[in-house]
């Protein structure tokens, strides 16, 4: 397996606080990988460095073998990385459909094609019945789905999902897990997720990277990582064994 995404020794500080320190990991083509760790471990900062929101102070990010660190977020999206925001950012005044159409325009030649693609994606995510509603009127779980729909509509090869399961009921989590699995199997979509819902992490990921205080403390298959004493101590707690 070749690596689609390579994060190589990235560091990033915010006014003296080292949010991420010398973090390296890679995600193979077609893989579903998870980034876990306690709050404040630097997971979202990692995402923001990959997605171009922050420029790393040191280190490199390579996508498909090409260096992308320092690129603007829109260029990174056009290169094939779609992302969601942990604190959802819907286009509140627009309809659910138009939200996704805007994403789809990244991958489609015209508005007509984008509307069709957006319709299909809303169908997949179970939002079709709400497509004419204003995004502002959606509940939080639906807004999370809309984030996924919009990112998916950009036609990414790598999807970065930042806590999209948070706030979903167990059955909804299972539905989302099934959907991501299907996308991964059918389209070969590579997925990197930040997640606290271990049920989803265990069900989905082939590779788990654990961050603590901005550093990687463990990485490997999910069952190995969840039995790692260091991970148990800082994150999962002894009762998770």
């Amino acid at each position: 397996m070749t690596a689609l995404l390579e994060v190589d020794g990235i560091s990033r500080s915010f006014s003296g606080l080292r949010a991420v320190q010398d973090v390296s990991f890679s995600v193979a083509q077609g893989q579903i990988a998870a980034l876990i760790g306690p709050n404040g471990a630097g997971k979202t900062t990692c995402f923001n460095v990959i997605a171009g929101v922050h420029r790393p102070d040191a280190g490199q990010v390579r996508f498909s073998g090409q260096r992308i660190d320092g690129w603007r977020p829109d260029r990174i999206c056009r290169a094939g990385i779609g992302r969601t925001f942990q604190l959802v950012k819907p286009f509140a005044g627009l309809s659910v459909l138009d939200n996704v159409v805007i994403g789809a325009l990244n991958a489609c030649p015209g508005v007509r094609a984008a509307r069709e693609k957006a319709g299909e994606i809303l169908e997949q995510l179970g939002l079709a019945a709400k497509s004419r509603q204003a995004a502002a009127s959606l509940t939080l779980p639906d807004r999370k789905r809309l984030e996924v729909a919009r990112a998916l509509a950009t036609g990414p090869r790598l999807l970065l999902l930042d806590e999209v399961m948070a706030g979903l009921r167990p059955t909804e989590t299972d539905h989302m897990v099934a959907l991501l699995r299907e996308l991964n199997a059918r389209l070969g979509l590579t997925i990197l997720l930040i997640e606290h819902v271990m049920r989803a992490v265990m069900a989905l990921s082939a590779h788990v990277v654990v961050l603590h205080h901005g550093q990687v403390i463990a990485a490997g298959p999910p069952h190995e990582v969840t039995h790692n004493p260091a991970v148990l101590e800082c994150y999962l707690g002894a009762e998770a064994v």
Binding site: D74, C77, P90, G93, I102, N106, G110, T154
Partner: protein, 339 residues
Amino acid sequence: MIARLIEDVPRRGLPLLGALLLALVAAPLAAGDYLLTVLILILYFAYVGQAWNIMMGFAGQLSLGHALYVGLGAYAAAALYVHFGISPWIGLWAAMLVSAAAGAIIGFLAFRFGVAGVYFAILTIAFAEFARIGFDHWGWLGGSAGFFLPVANYARNDLLSLRGSPTMFYYVMLGMTAAAFIICHVLMRSRVGYYWLAIRESPEAAQALGIDIFRYKMVAVVLSAAMTSLGGVLFAFYYNNLFPEQVFHISRSIELILGPIIGGVGTLFGPIVGAFLLTALSETLREAMAAIGIDVPGVKQVFYGVCLLAVVMFLPDGVWPALSARLGLGPGARGEGSR
């Protein structure tokens, strides 16, 4: 394209739109000189309001200095006509070029260096003020004493030189307002329209979806500036005099944006409805005051203030969204319902 335009308007709206257009086309037959002047003013505000709305209503960039583009357009076309005898139909291209360049400079400075929101609005005011003071001292264009066009002989309409009767100006203005409406309608259904709405709603999310926000904000500013300048060209040839203290004054910038704000920011009909309401009501008020012999300077401004206050309190989305819902023409929400 016409077919596509019509297919978007709800069925019930078609007769209304047709009736409005017919009434506007037929108006000069019935209207007296005074009413015609008011109608020209209404169309002027509807046109420049529509142009301003591209920047604020669609792309979410607040300009409080649009008088700059009106003034640059007015002076550019008037100067070419007076000094070189160049027809305003050629001059208007120069007007658009000058205004678009000014818009591009302001946009570049602001968007490259992350000047946003209120600070961006202040920057637009600053440039209009630069222009006001600069033109005050530019002797070639009359300076503060004003710049005058030879007054037209109303016996004959010379469309080529835009010299003629108010009726001629009325139809030119009507054509421009209709064209601006159609252009905005088409833009809103296009890629760039969607991108503007995305930038307005959340620049961060827009960028994450692959939108080059710098580029599309620049497009909005340049287009809005160029369109606004055509209003300035008409203004110059209709009034035949230009004074920097008036043309570039901030009160002109404010006056220009009240229509779309009261009508509904980000809607296609908002600028038109707002221009009708504001101008018609303020002219009626002025006539009524004159009739009972009261002359209070500044009453128009007070009236604008009251209108604005009422709309902000009772119809925060503007008159048009509420009106269109009442007429059964759909929600008319910002951007969304106008599509």
